[in-house]
């Protein structure tokens, strides 16, 4: 952004998180002993799997609502849709498309709820959206564990618990496993490239770029900059904020379906619980901050974060002789990155506020003198 004068110090400070990750990866890759082909394969798989989910985070950031921990809501909507679709035995790409369509009403309803609640908690959207995700997780469990069966008909015993209600711990999505990824897939010297998935992601990126230029997108940015100014300019602030959350939730639902069709099975009660955290961590690793994120951050983030994720356990095992160390290390890094990003954001915000206050004070003094 600062094209005026390129200063190395500023560049380093502005990109400290990605640089740190590049160093971690550079350190761990040789130790882990994975072949470049393997790594490349994994990275491309994970890019296709996760990028769409992470893209869903961009719009609330644009609207100044911070990192949308409530994207978990969309993930849950996607999961409910997938459970239904796999009970109806709709397979392959039609199954994926149907699941996406079915997830929309759930996502919209949850997004509306989330947006309304966040409007009541302005200034602490993030912690609120984080608690919402837990709250809705309870509701999700109520629906999936108790209502599916007696109230929502579930026919197949491969999905339903033997006790007659509730869904099993894992739902097999074997019949739609990687159906998006495999269609049009090409292999380049042992590396499988899921072309269709990447095309969908690219279309999504274009849609976001286009969306930024629409009236609604401009409004969102205005709301993100300053709510009061936006309101004075005649923008319906509350409505705009709700829409941004709804869009994010719907996209997260689609993203979750893409994610799960790649995984090939659905852990009914845990697939969604960590997804928000990992997606947010990946976005931040890509150099995004709480108030600014670009499409570039998404891709850099997926690559760096998942590279770390792949190599850390085996590097940790080779160094310490204990495989769990690496597992814990990558969890620690994920949380650590989010913590650091949040701290940086808050200190920056505070500094800006202070300098604004100082300026006001100075102006006042000038005014008194005059």
């Amino acid at each position: 952004m600062n094209k005026k004068k390129f200063s190395l110090g500023e560049f380093l400070r502005g990109n400290s998180v990605p640089i740190m990750f590049i160093l971690i990866c550079a350190f761990c890759i040789p130790i882990s002993g994975f072949s470049p082909t393997y790594l490349l394969n994994e990275i491309i798989t994970r890019l296709g799997r996760n990028a769409f989910l992470i893209l869903s985070l961009l719009i609330p950031i644009m609207a100044g609502m911070g990192l949308n921990f409530g994207m978990t809501l969309g993930a849950m909507a996607g999961e409910i849709a997938l459970i239904l679709v796999s009970d109806w035995q709709i397979w392959g790409i039609p199954g994926v498309v149907l699941a996406m369509i079915i997830s929309i009403p759930f996502s919209v309803a949850l997004g509306l709820l989330c947006g309304k609640i966040l409007n009541m908690a302005k200034g602490r959207e993030m912690v609120t959206s984080y608690i919402i995700s837990y709250f809705i997780n309870g509701v999700y469990q109520l629906v999936v564990l108790y209502m599916m069966g007696p109230i929502i008909p579930i026919a197949h015993s491969s999905i339903k618990l033997p006790r007659g209600y509730g869904i099993r711990n894992t739902v097999s999505l074997l019949n739609m496993r990687q159906c998006l990824d495999d269609l049009l897939a090409i292999r380049v010297s042992g590396v499988k490239i899921p072309v269709l998935t990447l095309i969908i992601i690219a279309l999504m990126c274009l849609a976001i770029v286009w969306f930024r230029k629409t009236k609604l997108g401009q409004d969102m940015r205005a709301v993100g900059q300053d709510m009061d100014v936006a309101r004075d300019a005649g923008i319906q602030v509350e409505r705009t904020r709700i829409i941004s959350i709804v869009i994010s939730t719907v996209l997260a639902g689609f993203g979750m379906i893409i994610y799960l069709q790649n995984m090939g099975n659905l852990s009914t009660y845990s697939s969604h619980s960590q997804i928000g955290m990992f997606c947010i961590a990946a976005l931040l690793v890509g150099g995004a901050s709480v108030d600014k994120a670009s499409i570039g951050n998404v891709f850099l983030g997926v690559i760096l974060f998942h590279l770390m994720f792949i190599v850390a356990p085996s590097a940790g095992a080779k160094i310490t002789g204990d495989s769990m160390i690496g597992e814990y290390f990558r969890v620690f890094v994920s949380y650590g990155v989010i913590t650091v990003a949040l701290v940086m954001y808050e200190t920056k915000k505070r500094r800006a506020k202070q300098s604004l206050g100082r300026q006001l004070e100075e102006d006042q003094r000038k005014g008194e003198k005059a």
Binding site: W91, I104, H156, S157, L161, P162, K215, S270, Q274
Partner: protein, 163 residues
């Protein structure tokens, strides 16, 4: 993707657009229902006992090709399976009737009933040209009672699965 967020245009146009989006989505969903229904087809090379006491004998060997891949090579009294999306099931059979016969191929197209998940096709019966309800039956999975204990539901709020 961008439902319920059309901007500005006057009230009625906005609503038409919304309803149109909704209708299109529902239409796509319905279409997916039709074309996406998956079935598991089982083919038996078994003697078919008919109600009138007649019976149709087995074939020496049948190779079953679905979408160009061989999914089963059936000797007498064997069963194979394939998955199929949609109702217009097609397969190619390479049939050896008796021992020593020259194998011949036959294209087979079967309309699968929408409501059945698993469908058993008795090949000798089919090839003998009998009526559909004589060689087609529903596959009923045998509930293995030993594994039907209630599994413990793990609703770990912080389950740290692999990504």
């Amino acid at each position: 993707m961008s439902e319920v967020k059309e901007k500005k245009p006057s009230g009625s146009r906005k609503w038409t657009a919304r309803i149109l989006t909704l209708v299109v989505l529902i239409a796509i969903a319905a279409w997916m229902f039709v074309i996406g229904r998956g079935h598991t087809v089982y083919f038996d090379n078994k003697t078919l006992e008919l109600e009138n006491g007649e019976s149709i004998g087995t074939l020496q060997r049948v190779d079953v090709y679905v979408n160009g891949n061989r999914v089963a090579r059936l000797a007498k009294r064997e069963r194979g399976m394939a998955t199929w999306i949609g109702q217009n099931f097609k397969m190619t059979l390479e049939i050896t009737k008796e021992k020593g016969d020259e194998p011949y191929t036959q294209e087979v197209a079967i309309d699968l009933p929408y409501s059945l998940d698993g469908i058993v096709v008795n090949l000798p019966g089919y090839l003998a040209g009998r009526s559909q309800d004589e060689w087609m039956s529903e596959f009923v999975p045998v509930a293995s009672s030993t594994t039907e204990e209630d599994e413990e539901i793990i609703t770990d709020e912080f389950g740290l699965g692999d990504m």
